[in-house]
């Protein structure tokens, strides 16, 4: 699976404004809603479902990266977005570091395989330190889009 298969380019955020976990998740879900990937009336339910998932254990997986996610019945196909937080967000990460890079995923309840393949793609690309560093340093949506395209074209990855 490639980023282009599940990342909604119109929902990418290069300058995440929120400074806390709930605000960050809400900002990303709203971006997906504005991009038409999530129905507006379902947004709040999706935010709450993601927060409930976070209560079970943070998706801050270390190296300044978090992958907040949930399954939701209103979604027919896996959708996701990328957000960069220049100031960092306290996400109660595994390694205690603030999170600068978010990959938020919302998937249909009956497709766990797609979710795993998206996580695999994200993880494999992020294992490349150059890709991870460049993405955190990206200042514009165009920068992020270009990095994702390059990753999809196998220009990064271990």
């Amino acid at each position: 699976m490639k980023f282009a298969d599940f990342i909604c380019r119109e929902a990418i955020l290069a300058q995440l404004q929120a400074s806390d976990k709930e605000g960050a998740i809400r900002e990303m879900v709203e971006a997906l809603s504005k991009a038409g990937q999530v129905e507006a009336e379902e947004s709040e339910g999706i935010v709450k479902a993601i927060l409930k998932r976070e209560e079970l254990g943070s998706t801050g997986i270390g190296r300044g990266v978090a992958v907040p996610h949930t399954k939701h019945p209103s979604i027919e196909k896996l959708v996701g977005t990328v957000a960069v937080s220049p100031q960092g967000v306290d996400f109660a990460s595994l390694d205690g570091e603030v999170v600068h890079l978010f990959f938020l995923l919302v998937s249909p309840p009956d497709r766990p395989g797609d979710h795993l393949r998206a996580l695999e793609n994200i993880s494999r690309q992020l294992r490349d330190d150059t890709f991870c560093r460049f993405l955190k340093q990206a200042k514009t949506v165009a920068d992020i889009q270009q990095l994702l395209n390059e990753a999809d074209n196998n220009q990064f990855g271990s």
């Binding site: 998932r53 079970l56 254990g57 943070s58 998706t59 997986i61 270390g62 190296r63 990266v65 992958v67 996610h69 949930t70 399954k71 595994l94 766990p112 395989g113 979710h115 795993l116 393949r117 996580l119 695999e120 994200i122 993880s123 494999r124 992020l126 294992r127």
Partner: protein
């Protein structure tokens, strides 16, 4: 305490496979212990402390993972890890998220 080596082969029974929560729980468990833990799927070894490496294995329900631990608490850490592959986290009922 002397260093021992322990191995165990587990079948993933969690319907969601080895997802983010499993990977984080594995890494947290290994980091709490005193042994080096390697997960092996399809002969590809990954570090038990690295969430990104664990997720890169893409392990679905029904697939098999071999766990290898080397250290003073090798058997104990593998016993802690095994329930995670069934989606059992602590005292909670099995679930997949």
């Amino acid at each position: 305490m002397s260093e021992t080596r322990a191995t165990r082969t587990v079948v993933v029974t969690d319907p969601a496979g080895v997802h983010a929560r499993t990977a984080v729980a594995i890494a947290e468990t290994v980091r709490r212990g005193k042994s080096r833990v390697t997960l092996i799927k399809d002969r590809e070894p990954v570090s038990g402390t690295d969430v990104l490496q664990i997720l890169t294995m893409v392990t679905h329900q029904g697939e098999t993972v071999t766990l290898e631990a080397i250290g003073p608490d090798a058997e104990a850490v593998l016993s802690e890890l095994e329930p995670l592959f069934a989606g059992r986290f602590g005292d909670e009922a099995p679930q997949s998220v």
